[in-house]
Symmetry: C2
């Protein structure tokens, strides 16, 4: 007799991701090398760990619902006002809030087929229609096609991950500005910059709120706080105000706020992670070249190995998993011929290289 509403009823059951823990349970694995979710292999900054450790006894207190100190520190880096920053429980919560506020049931959103799936999950979850655009043949995002699709369906929101996940490719500030100009004026551009810290800062859009754009950032990747669930949006205040009316006021973990603030202050650690990640990407590129599995250029903490066909990629993914190495692969052509591998730390990469070499010796690509 109790029924969900018609929007929810119409949605198929499904989830954007299967977590690694379920894979381990289903396969009976006791350990698994996690190179599938682009989690930082370098952990949180020691300063963040120290700050969080010290505050664990006060985890009985709610976090500040205004995230005042953290927003102040972020605003200082973005040369903007505190009210142009919204702290959320990771980028995922922010994506949901943007969809909830700016999409009406039955309206359309535009995204690339096979990009980070949680945006489309939210769009469907709020009764929207997802107009998908294919990757270009070179595996990069087709910005022109996104704009054309947005015009065609009068999109409420256009989603772009930049740098993109899973391709690792990157559109520069000029390209983003052109995309914004080419979109309908009513279309909100949702720029998911989860991996932006790994890209060349000079090529990125300038660090400030941009008209018509919500920029999403996270402490999950560079700062190694994925499990803490903390990220933020940067946008003109008028775009954040609707979200403030309905957001989960106490959604952010107190220790996540403390860890994020400390992480922001630890520039030495962040620089070290960036350098080690760049070395890891170069190592992966050399490995892929040596094994005939060329890598795609990446400005992130992961790399796609081109296995030349979907079947080969599936085979290599499964073979890695059977050897206890968990990776993921893009779901849509042309990237579905790739296996996407997180840049682990030095020992992770040694293990991965050794397993991939062993598999490569058996698999003919």
């Amino acid at each position: 007799m109790i029924r969900p509403n018609s929007t929810i009823d119409a949605i198929p059951a499904g989830e954007p991701f299967v977590g690694p823990e379920r894979i381990m349970r289903e396969r009976g694995l006791k350990t698994m090398l996690r190179l599938g979710a682009n989690e930082s292999a370098f952990g949180p900054s020691p300063q963040a760990i120290a700050a969080m450790t010290a505050e664990l006894p006060r985890l009985s207190w709610y976090g500040d619902p205004d995230s005042y100190e953290l927003r102040s520190a972020i605003a200082a880096r973005w040369n903007c006002n505190r009210d142009e920053i919204l702290v959320t429980s990771g980028i995922d919560e922010l994506l949901g809030l943007v969809v909830r506020c700016f999409l009406a049931v039955g309206e359309s959103v535009v995204a690339t087929a096979g990009t980070y799936p949680t945006f489309a999950y939210h769009a469907i979850g709020y009764g929207g229609r997802v107009e998908s655009v294919a990757y270009r043949e070179d595996g990069c995002i087709d910005l022109d096609a996104l704009a054309t699709a947005a015009q065609r369906c009068d999109a409420a929101i256009c989603y772009l991950a930049n740098p993109d996940n899973p391709s690792g490719s990157f559109a520069d500030a000029d390209a983003i500005a052109r995309l914004r100009s080419a979109l309908p004026a009513r279309t909100l551009l949702l720029l998911d910059e989860a991996y932006a810290e790994f890209a060349d800062a000079r090529a990125l859009p300038a660090p400030r709120p941009l008209p018509g754009i919500v920029r999403a950032r996270t402490f999950s990747k560079l700062y190694g706080l994925a499990g803490a669930r903390i990220g933020y949006g940067v946008a003109p205040q008028a775009l954040l105000a609707p979200m403030l009316k309905v957001r989960l006021q106490y959604g952010v973990n107190r220790n996540a706020q403390i860890g994020a603030l400390a992480a922001l202050g630890d520039a030495v650690f962040a620089r070290d992670v960036l350098e080690r990640t760049a070395r890891g990407r170069a190592e992966y590129a050399a490995l892929g070249a040596a094994l005939g599995l060329p890598t795609l250029d990446s400005t992130t903490n992961f790399v796609c190995f081109d296995c030349s066909s979907r079947e080969r990629a599936d085979e290599i993914l499964e073979a890695l998993l059977q050897r206890g190495v968990w990776t993921r692969k893009p779901g849509m052509a042309p990237l579905d011929r790739c296996v996407r591998v997180t840049v682990g730390n030095e020992s992770d990469r040694e293990r991965f290289a050794s397993e991939l070499r062993a598999i490569r010796a058996r698999v003919t690509v």
Copy 2:
């Protein structure tokens, strides 16, 4: 040109709570005794702190989106299946999910005017209408009036905090069963049991999923993990399934999962908190009686002091705050003549008693 949708646009700006940190900022306070949010003064269990400390270096990993281990442990206590448990980022997230899934825009929900406000915040946020029922003159929830109102407006959801916040009063299992029977069959009964562990377990509804009811529990209160943001719903699987289609899959902090699991296993600590809280309630009752500010019966970790009028209650609340003691007060009659005070630890209570005595010497009630 970019506009929120009509549902969001129609919602007034507002927030259910002002956090204590903002009060401190606005008043320029360096310290403040937090007795306003029913946060546990006894902190998290030492076992929970130890488990979380050990796992901080792995906070770069996402938490298990299935919360498998924690749900298993909870299901064992509730004599139910794992799929009758849904772990969320605190009860607040669960309240929002229930509203999102079971309320259609324009439909009504029923709740008591002046009870925990976050349910109504979500109901308004999802385009619902809130039909409010007054507290009885004795400060208890009027269950008959809730049922009558739900019948009248064919409510999608009826919200009941049990034990209630802010009154501290309690409806037993028979009363809950009668309420469920008196509600329309289409009405979901949302039972917010945030403080249930402080009540007599024999008087509560049996620990199992109940037809037509979503029971909400939290690790914020007894377990001292408010800042961790972790709670759960217990319900027949058919009521949880719609929420699984749209929930934030990675919404829960990994260390919150770890802390909650450890907390569940520390029965000695929980018993100690219960005993010390009961002693604190008795102390508050004696203090109120001595000062002519009689307390309401409470089965929670907070107590309402009856100041005999709204004006006196406002005055005492403000006087306490000027002395650095933060409390809150109910917003609606007849409870708005009360100040609601968290049962702190022994030294908190000593400080509070001393300040209240000093204020009482000046204020004529």
